[in-house]
Symmetry: C2
Subunit: 478 residues, 2 copies
């Protein structure tokens, strides 16, 4: 066991004996076996212990681990955490809170002490329990992989790996090793407490399943090995796909190329959505099978163009892209004129230049008619320019966001009014751009929907007296 | 349900209403619901029933299904099978024997009646039970896919698909449908019998797991969907890999290109081995995780060059190939001279030509020495030709297979004898070719190991009197 263990740590994990390892030592059989193996193989070890304060004797346990470290001549670091309170405050279960406190501490110390890795004592039985829990939760391939012998990056660090060198060793072998080496593990009665889900799995469900199908622990352990390689294969394929399909990624959103996404196999499409959700939400527990299928239903051209996915993330189609965006997203909108947030409207007193959102501006000036101006108006092709006849007693010229029921009578359509909302939809203005799109009005009446349509009511003729020239100017490309 | 069902059958399965469907009808809720839906959607149905003879009232059940078919104006086919005896004879469980008898009958009739498909009534609960059984057996991705809505090819036919249109419908919905449509299912008490593994899963284990993790049935059903797409992805990748890596396939064996196999990801390597085993053995239940790993261990250059895998299949490396071969394999040996099976030796009386195995032959003639012959002998580079000095009182020239302890004194090595087995290994003659490799002898003594080494004892000199010229001639390439 000693030599095999050393091979795993030294060769598979590429760990050298010079730099320190931050080793989590609860005082149970697993961590004491781990510690013994590391020390006997001459690794530089720092013993780390977290006192969860869940049992009256926990302080005594900490003292005994400290004594052990001292007797081995090893550095000892520890922290007391009131897990009960932490769980109550955070809404996590006792198990989750304890886990989080442990890893936070281990990686914090590892960083401070320049440790090359954090090492913990999970064994093959722990692995099988984890797999079964994931299976019950309906995890796919990613969950059925279980814990990994080496995890980097991990949720706590991008450069310090988390190592589990005992992941292939069964609990009985660890207990045997402890006995053979005169190691006396501390007894933790909470391991017997079947209020904890993992303990129910360990003491009730797994023995029962083993009765149904003897040898299931070994088979599940092997299954995780197989799944691991297949997951890696799919991950590689995902990465290749991402290279071409991910078109844009910003604060709280990302966008896939729609045609390229459609061309992928279903397996990769699903993984792209999961990957995207993982980018937007670190906790994707809400992301069940149906949520992923909702996002993919948008690929069907006859289906809706937007759907809620999960955890406040929405998927929608815009032009040739599929967006995933959280409610907090700052979506790119430099392509459109928009009124700034919190501004619902303003008066326009030419000559003037008013800043809009994202570097756009609205310019206005008054002109008098001339042959050359008339010529220019007749031949204009730029939908972001308009010439309006203010009339003799025109109400105040202003710019505002839309209101329910807004309409205009299109230039040349003699009396037939059209809803602003319909004009926007016909012009394929993205939904999220409609609310803050600037409308140019005489008093209440919309006379120009920039980029789309001018109204009959402000039509310029060769006889017009007061003309105002309006122009929406996009931001300068940097 | 009616319209949704029709869409599945007509669109997803591409079934038309003109050609008959062979529908398995036990008389239970699933099959009666299935039958009703098919009839109401105007499909051409033939009702097929197998009487398993496991219960005294089974004959009455068959009669009632026949009556139902008659009342619907449908053709009815049935067969009685004594499953109890079948199980005893074949060594299968009752469940396995019943299943086999059912599908044998359904596909046999489907073929006779020109049916476009066999249709059975498995539902979503059956699917979840199957998944859980596979999980307990340690099945990987392939097993976690569960039953497929459409299977072609299947174990019973290469052109008649097996359809399961109710695979997405839960049992409760089927029972509701039956009630709403005045369908009265026959009661099969054996569905309650927990001696049967599936019934234990259904009535004991699944309710218990649902207690641990409420909603597990739905999640497992979705999981199978996800796994199905991922399996397809891996299958596609496997097929691409096979295109280049599969170098040879014959009776009871196949061979992969070793370098190309080494270049694959672990996931595809494992799947190639599984695929190969599937080609050689239709039942791969013996092929557990360790068996696959044994085969792959040969890729490690420092490891053994052959291993037993499972079910009488051996993996071995030969030249630049990895072979998988059953004990029954007729391996290709046209590359080597071999004595025919059952022939252990024969005398050579020149001039003669003797047929060996696989189209090879041994030609022998006597010559007398001359300058040009001497020149030819000196410059010969073909290891399948030899000139031997028969000497004055040479013992009978013969050809035979090797015996333990065979040796020869190599030409020019003055007295240093070498074991035939060592010479063969040094020359990298594949192990399976060594036993029947032809040895040329004077009496007992080996004087030529064709392709490898001639013996000092039969060396030709310019003074030689009696010379025999021997040549091994490969088969003509067709």
């Amino acid at each position: 066991m000693l030599a095999h263990f050393d091979k795993i740590v030294r060769v598979d994990f590429r760990i050298n004996t010079q730099l320190p390892l931050m080793v989590g030592v609860s005082g149970g059989a697993d961590s004491l076996c781990l510690l013994d193996l590391l020390v006997k193989n001459d690794y530089a070890v720092i013993v780390a212990h977290v006192d969860h304060k869940l049992r009256p004797e926990s302080g005594e346990d900490a003292r005994r681990v400290a004594l052990l470290a001292d007797s081995l001549g090893l550095e000892f670091v520890s922290r007391e955490v009131d897990i009960q309170s932490l769980a109550e405050e955070s809404g996590l279960s006792i198990e989750q809170a304890a886990r989080q406190a442990r890893y936070d501490f281990l990686f914090d110390r590892a960083d401070k002490y320049g440790a090359q890795a954090v090492v913990v004592g999970h064994n093959a039985d722990d692995q099988v329990e984890t797999l079964l829990m994931h299976f019950l939760q309906g995890a796919g391939l990613d969950g059925m992989v279980g814990m990994l012998p080496r995890t980097l990056p991990n949720p706590w660090s991008g450069d310090i790996p988390l190592l589990r060198p005992l992941l292939g060793v069964w609990r009985t072998d660890i207990l045997e090793y402890c006995q053979a080496n005169q190691i006396e593990p501390l007894f933790d009665p909470s391991n017997q407490n079947t209020d904890f889900f993992r303990n129910r799995i360990r003491h009730e469900l797994l023995p029962m399943l083993d009765d149904y199908a003897p040898g299931i622990r070994n088979r599940m352990h092997s299954m995780a090995e197989v799944f691991r390689a297949e997951r890696e294969f799919l991950d590689d394929a995902l990465e290749v796909a991402l290279g071409s399909i991910l078109q844009d990624q910003g604060e709280g959103y990302l966008a896939f190329d729609l045609d390229l996404l459609r061309g992928q196999t279903l397996a990769i499409q699903r993984r792209l959505i999961r990957w995207g959700m993982g980018q937007l939400r670190s906790d994707t527990r809400e992301l069940d099978f149906e949520a992923v299928e909702r996002a993919l239903s948008l690929l069907d051209q006859s289906a809706a163009r937007q759907r809620d996915i999960a955890a406040g993330v929405r998927a929608f189609i815009e032009d040739d892209r599929l967006f995933l965006a959280g409610w907090e997203a700052k979506l790119p909108s430099q392509g459109w004129p928009q009124l700034p947030e919190q501004v619902s409207g303003f008066d326009i007193v030419p000559p003037t230049e008013v800043e809009l959102a994202e570097g756009w501006c609205l310019r206005a000036k008054t002109l008098t008619i001339s042959d050359s101006l008339w010529e220019q108006i007749q031949t204009n092709r730029d939908p972001l320019r308009a010439w309006l006849d203010l009339g003799e007693q025109a109400p105040a010229l202003n710019c505002r966001i839309r209101r329910p029921g807004d309409y205009l009578v299109p230039l040349g359509l003699a009396g037939k009014s059209k809803k602003i909302s319909h004009l926007m939809i016909d012009k394929k203005i993205p939904q999220r751009a409609r609310q803050r799109w600037p409308l140019i009005c005489f008093g209440e009446d919309v006379v120009w929907l920039p980029g789309v349509q001018q109204a009959e009511g402000a039509r310029v003729t060769p006889e017009s007296q007061q003309i105002v020239f309006l122009q929406l100017i996009p931001p300068r490309r940097s």
